[in-house]
């Protein structure tokens, strides 16, 4: 028995972390909040590193690996708060892998693996309605209606749309009858729009894997949140070691030490929650439903708390835009709210466990 990443996984994760440390310093993450419009450059570079193909089968030019391999990459992306469509493209790609026909896979996946074709997902409907069981949009060849909170819809080559009964369909990014209204996003690194379909042409994916797609999304958000939350601990600790008051580093004051220790305790032990959920997704899908919700609800609930404390630990400087600490707080709000709040997922856990 081995409950840990293997050498290859660690090396892969480290490679991405090293890359982002250079290419996505705090200033870059902050930039996405300074100007409207998606920062696609980092995503494109990550695609060049081959990260678009992690779960894509080898016959379509991918690595044929599992969600765990993808999630451990989502962690450093969250740690550096890398802006761009990593999450939504990964989910759209996974939708095709899970639910597409062989022909559809062959048609779309090779270009999605390289990033030549960028996808996104359109899932949310009314306030708080995210999950496959509650989708209402429907249609066989054309659909009408709207989806909220679609990530980076502008310029996306295809949109995977969640349909009634947990089915999934694909609408081309340039389809007629598709209209995008961009909204200001709390997390500047993730651009959001409302997408309206008016008799837009849709191509159905044969398998109704919407519920499973949402599970994967929850796990990827949990991984992003774990990376972000642990970055918050690191930032707070680093600042406390540097910043001096009363002639010594504030990190030597016991009250500050204990606050930082409590932050670390909130974050560090939760890594296994997303690992296990991703592993279960790959090997035992039925148990992944609960595990994904435990991971997402726990980690994304911790993340904003830790981000707040991190900013507080910085005092005034943390409250300045230029310092950039807020990037993580806003990403934390995103990770917590996207695909549904912790409360909603815990309610579902209770149902699934037949409490």
């Amino acid at each position: 028995m081995r409950f840990d990443l293997d050498e290859q996984q660690r090396a892969f994760q480290q490679m991405v972390a090293d890359y982002l440390e250079t290419e996505c310093p705090k200033a870059r993450a902050l930039e996405a909040h300074d100007r409207a419009g998606a920062d696609l450059a980092i995503w494109e570079a990550l695609m060049e590193l081959g990260l678009g193909g992690i779960m894509v089968p080898e016959e379509q030019g991918g690595l044929g690996l599992g969600l765990l391999d993808l999630a451990i990459i989502a962690e450093p992306i969250g740690r550096f708060a890398a802006p761009g469509p990593f999450f939504d493209h990964a989910l759209a790609t996974l939708a095709i892998i899970l639910a597409g026909s062989e022909e559809q896979k062959a048609r779309w996946l090779p270009d999605m693996a390289t990033g030549k074709l960028r996808g996104t997902v359109a899932l949310a409907e009314e306030k708080g309605v995210w999950t496959a069981e509650n989708w209402t949009l429907d249609g066989e060849a054309r659909i009408s209606g709207a989806k909220n909170h679609v990530l980076h819809p502008e310029g996306a080559g295809l949109l995977v749309v969640g349909l009634k009964g947990g089915r999934l369909g694909v609408v081309a990014g340039d389809a007629e009858g598709l209209a995008v209204e961009m909204l200001p996003s709390t997390d500047g690194g993730r651009q959001i729009g409302r997408v309206t379909f008016s008799e837009a042409a849709i191509e159905l994916l044969p398998r109704a894997e919407g519920a499973r797609l949402v599970d994967a999304g929850l796990i990827l958000l949990a991984a992003d949140a774990f990376g972000g939350a642990s970055a918050c601990v690191t930032m707070a600790v680093d600042y406390a070691r540097e910043r001096e008051q009363f002639g010594k580093p504030i990190g030597s004051f016991q009250a500050v030490k204990h606050q930082l220790a409590d932050m670390a305790l909130m974050v560090e032990p939760s890594v296994g929650l997303y690992w296990y959920a991703a592993h279960a997704f790959d090997t035992d899908p039925s148990s992944a439903r609960v595990a994904a919700r435990l991971a997402k609800s726990h980690i994304t609930e911790v993340y904003p708390k830790v981000a707040r404390r991190m900013i507080e630990a910085h005092g005034g400087i943390g409250y300045t835009w230029e310092y950039g600490a807020h990037v993580w707080l806003k990403r934390a709000l995103f990770d917590q709210a996207y695909l549904g709040m912790p409360q909603a997922h815990r309610a579902r856990v209770a149902d699934l466990l037949e409490w």
Binding site: K127, S185, T186, A255, V256, R308, G315, A325
Partner: protein, 385 residues
């Protein structure tokens, strides 16, 4: 215990109402109205007449009645800001006659606006370690260094600042309290954008900025003590329950208005439980504030509870923010910044603002130090972050 205002105060209330009915409606000239308010004895009550105040005997109950009635009529009260709330009391207590003459009256009318120059990049909770230096040369102070967190500096004419003028003295004894004109070449003011997109704060850089030798309040090296009384005033300012009450009422409205899972949020048991718990905390703050007022009225001082206000209120704002964040669900994904008419996502802003409350005017840790040292009498350990 007597929670009613007595008959004398009730007749005073009627008088205030009559005054407002006769003199205030929307569109009235504010400066003229304020002058009438001073003449009637309602505004600037604790300030001598010769400086433009109404010089009334201290009466906290009357003060509260005035505040209540002016608020009800949406009439303007005293000019807000550091000048009226921090500098004027200091000048009255420690300023020289010519300083009082020159600055107080015009500050009260809002003609002079003042920035506060305390914090520096390296000096937050350890304020006394500040390093902006002032040297006396040819009859004026020459100032070099930097201040941060200076609210509204771009709109201000003057600054009152803590400046290190005695570099060889122990740190608390080397500071002077100087006044200076912000409109001079040696001063550069740069706005600091905040995490919620606002930019009320500024950095102020001093590059051989100057101010006359006698623009000093108190003696050389006494600035720390002069400023201490200000800090006390500032803490008083933060004492009311209005902010907490407004937050609670907004949250209650949100819960009534928004739905969760298709049902009105207010009907969910856990929402009701959370709201009732927050209501209890609000009432505790209200009564504490009433107790403080009563004790000040009795000359006993606000005591223990007063030192807890700030922390209680910033904790409360955070608790409200967290509850609202749960209620708005995915509406928090939409930013209220650059959005002229935000919906529920305005709570994202409150979520950020509630952090500012925990940081501004001394962090929560400083407040805990104060409670531990001054309220609980625990042994001091030199310092604390």
């Amino acid at each position: 215990m007597d929670l009613q205002f007595g008959p004398e105060h009730e007749s005073f209330r009627a008088e205030v109402r009559d005054f407002l009915g006769a003199n205030w409606r929307r569109g009235t000239d504010v400066a003229e109205f304020r002058a009438k308010g001073v003449a009637a004895g309602y505004l600037y009550r604790n300030i001598p007449k010769r400086f433009g105040g109404s010089e009334q005997p201290a009466d906290i109950l009357r003060a509260r009645i005035i505040a209540e009635e002016f608020a009800r009529a949406k009439a303007p009260v005293e000019v807000k800001g550091n000048g009226v709330q921090m500098l004027v009391p200091t000048l009255l207590e420690r300023g020289e006659a010519w300083q009082q003459e020159r600055f107080i009256a015009k500050t009260l009318t809002g003609e002079y606006k003042w920035a506060q120059g305390y914090s520096e990049p390296g000096s937050g909770s350890d304020l006394a370690s500040l390093r902006t230096r002032g040297e006396l040369k040819d009859g004026q102070w020459v100032i070099n260094g930097q201040k941060v967190w200076t609210s509204y500096a771009r709109e201000c004419h003057y600054m009152f600042a803590l400046i290190r003028t005695e570099p060889d003295a122990p740190k608390h004894q080397g500071i002077s309290y100087l006044l200076l004109d912000l409109n001079q070449p040696g001063i550069d003011i740069r706005p600091m954008k905040q995490i919620n997109g606002g930019n009320d704060f500024n950095e102020v850089f001093f590059d051989n900025a100057v101010t006359p030798e006698n623009w000093i309040v108190g003696k050389r090296g006494e600035g720390w003590n002069v400023s201490k009384s200000l800090l006390k005033h500032e803490r008083n300012m933060l004492g009311g329950v209005d902010r907490s009450e407004a937050l609670f009422n907004s949250l209650l409205k949100l819960a009534r208005r928004t739905t969760m899972g298709g049902e009105p949020a207010i009907k969910a048991m856990w929402v009701r439980d959370r709201l009732a718990a927050l209501k209890a905390e609000l009432e505790a703050q209200r009564y504490s504030s009433n107790i403080q007022m009563t004790r000040e009225l009795a000359g006993e001082g606000g005591g223990v509870l007063q030192m807890m206000n700030k922390l209680a209120q910033s904790n409360y704002a955070a608790a409200i923010a967290e509850a609202a964040n749960i209620l708005i669900e995915d509406e928090s994904l939409i930013s209220p910044m650059d959005n002229p008419r935000p919906g529920n996502e305005r709570w994202v802003n409150q979520y950020m603002n509630s952090l500012a409350a925990a940081i501004a005017g001394g962090t929560s840790n400083i407040q805990r130090n104060i409670i531990a040292d001054r309220v609980l009498g625990l042994p001091r350990d030199g310092a604390g972050a």
